[in-house]
Amino acid sequence: MLRFIIRRVVVIIPMLFIIVTLTWVLVRLAPGNFYTGEKKLAPAVENNLREKYGLNRPWHVQYRKVLWNMARLDLGNSLKYEGQSVNQILWRTLPVSAALGITAYLIALIVGITMGTLAALKQNSWLDYASMTVAMLGISIPNFVLGPLLVLAFSLTLYWFPPALWNGFPSKSVVLPALTLSAIYVAYIARLTRSGMLEVLRSDYIRTARAKGLTERQVVMRHALRGGLLPVVSFSGPALAFLITGTVVVERVFALPGLGNYFINACFNRDEPLIIGIVAFIAITVLVFNLLVDISYAFIDPRIRY
């Protein structure tokens, strides 16, 4: 187990290196610069800018600087948001995205597991069909369609929630974005729970549990869920990656000051340090999270050994 963890942690570093290098190469290959705009700059101004940001130095010097910055966890200054370091922007935007993502995932876990378990227990009933149809709808309606539709219904018609506003975490402004973001996870988790539970409910140990006289409630809560939720746990790995792309869309739809929104703007602005910083940050999060998910298997399912 320990060897497995060490091996996986060691792999993270070269992968991070590859991702950062790839991003840097893409940024360098791209035509134009952060200062290129509608208006052409005077050559003297352009030269000064290149001098100031070190763009006139040889590529290997610039590349080394990127890696050096990464190594000491200081991601440099943003080029477009003047006077702000990438670290500051990350620390400011991360809570927004994290609050949104975690709320959405919690909603998805609660609603999805309930839906999936009920569907499995009452297999082939109207409840089963209804929840699976709802789940399929959740998978099929893109979040950038669902979000505006919710805004249309709950903000512009009923005036219950603000359409595009961020008031900090526990506030009305979280509701619509979190619901929009959670839809697809509710759907996936409900489907995974249902199929996992169907399989487990037929297994011998459940029959044993029933045979020794446990109530249906105890059978489901204490025995079946533990095995039936394994697919949901393994989904949490990819879910995080989806969650990040999901927040990009949702933050744009609801104009929230989160990581995803800044990331897209940074790409359009050619804000090199910010792009590289955010990509590296997301990469680390995803890599570490995948590792945690793999480790957690061993705790939930004692049959798994590394």
């Binding site: 991003t23 791209a30 539709l149 805004v151 199929s195 990656a241 990331f263």
Partner: protein, 341 residues
């Protein structure tokens, strides 16, 4: 050794017809016995087809996918014939240069001209939705094909080679799996936009196809490994068939079932990715339209002209919904073991 997959010529007796779901023979419909004689044996594919037709939601999905595809392919031409509207034709009359609600024309009176209304410059939304469908379908199909070609070749070679090569190739797939792909695709498309809309489409095919082959490679590899030690491969090798030929002519066709199922489920997911990128302004560019870019446009005018979002959004959701049901149905039909009973 008796070949279980191929039904033999003698009539089946009742006991054999009720062996249980794990025997393909038992899935055969009783209706096939026409006046005491057995009609030609049923292959795996025919059985699957029959199971698919028995699944109502999958049939619904199939019909909707068919109708939406046909109307996207021929619809724009028909609309052009009938009304002269195309996806980017802007009316000449200045009074028509605004967004009309569905079935409304000049002066707010009822009109058949625009069943889905018009956008801000008076372009017919129905024509735009159907043309957008063309692009969305094309991107989804071609990107899926790209992922099929890469995934099948990679998986088949890894599976057949086995040993060290297999280990290495699959380790690479594992590593690629944990990359935050979409983020890299966003960086790629935002920083290196192609010069023309057509080149942009090609970039999109490539980017989407290149990131969705991983699961396909894993599936194919698993299949090939379970097939490669069977007698027909030995027979092929004994008769001197070359290795590439064994892989692509003998092994891959036998692994097609799961591949088709996964490909059907890849289409909606690629379509969704395309729409997502187009929504962010990174995918299909004007004057071309796709469902994603139409939804993006519509979302901006949501408060005043909701139909600009509702029609493209719901058409796309309907298509994805049907494709997903069809894919699920195909999986159940082709793989009776994992069927949800």
């Amino acid at each position: 050794m008796a070949d279980l997959d191929k039904p033999n010529d003698r009539p089946l007796d009742d006991a054999e017809l009720h062996l249980g779901p794990e025997y393909a023979v038992a899935e055969r419909d009783v209706s096939e016995v026409v006046s005491g004689e057995i009609v030609a044996g049923s292959s795996l594919w025919r059985d699957a087809w029959r199971r698919l037709l028995r699944n109502k939601v999958a049939v619904f999905g199939m019909i909707v996918v068919f109708l939406l595809t046909v109307s996207s392919v021929i619809g724009p031409a028909i609309i052009k014939r009938a009304t002269g509207n195309t996806y980017d034709s802007i009316p000449k009359d200045a009074a028509l240069l605004k967004s009309f609600a569905p079935f409304r024309g000049a002066g707010g009176k009822f009109s058949w001209a625009h069943p889905m209304g018009t956008d801000n410059t008076g372009r017919d939304i129905l024509a735009r939705v159907l043309s957008g469908g063309q692009i969305s379908l094309m991107v989804a199909l071609i990107a899926t094909l790209v992922s099929l070609v890469i995934g099948i070749s990679y998986g088949a070679i890894a599976g057949y080679a086995g040993g060290r090569a297999d280990d290495l190739m699959m380790r690479i797939v594992d590593v690629l799996y944990s990359l935050p792909y979409v983020i890299l695709v966003i960086v790629l498309l935002a920083l290196l936009p192609a010069k023309t809309p057509t080149a942009q489409l090609a970039e999109l095919f490539f980017a989407l196809g290149a990131v969705s082959w991983l699961t396909m490679a894993r599936i194919v590899r698993g299949q090939i490994i379970s097939l490669k030690n069977q007698d027909f491969v030995l027979a092929a090798r004994a008769t001197g068939v070359s290795t590439p030929k064994i892989i692509f002519r003998h092994l891959v066709p036998n692994a097609l079932g799961p591949v088709i199922v996964y490909a059907t489920l890849t289409i909606p997911s690629v379509m969704l990715s395309e729409a997502f990128l187009s929504f962010l302004g990174l995918g299909v560019r004007p004057p071309r339209v796709s469902w994603g870019s139409l939804a993006a446009e519509g979302a901006q005018n949501l408060a005043i002209y909701p139909w600009q979002l509702i029609f493209p959004g719901l058409t796309m959701a309907l298509m994805l919904f049907s494709l997903n049901f069809l894919g699920d149905g195909l999986r159940d039909a082709l793989d009776p073991q994992t069927r949800k009973e």
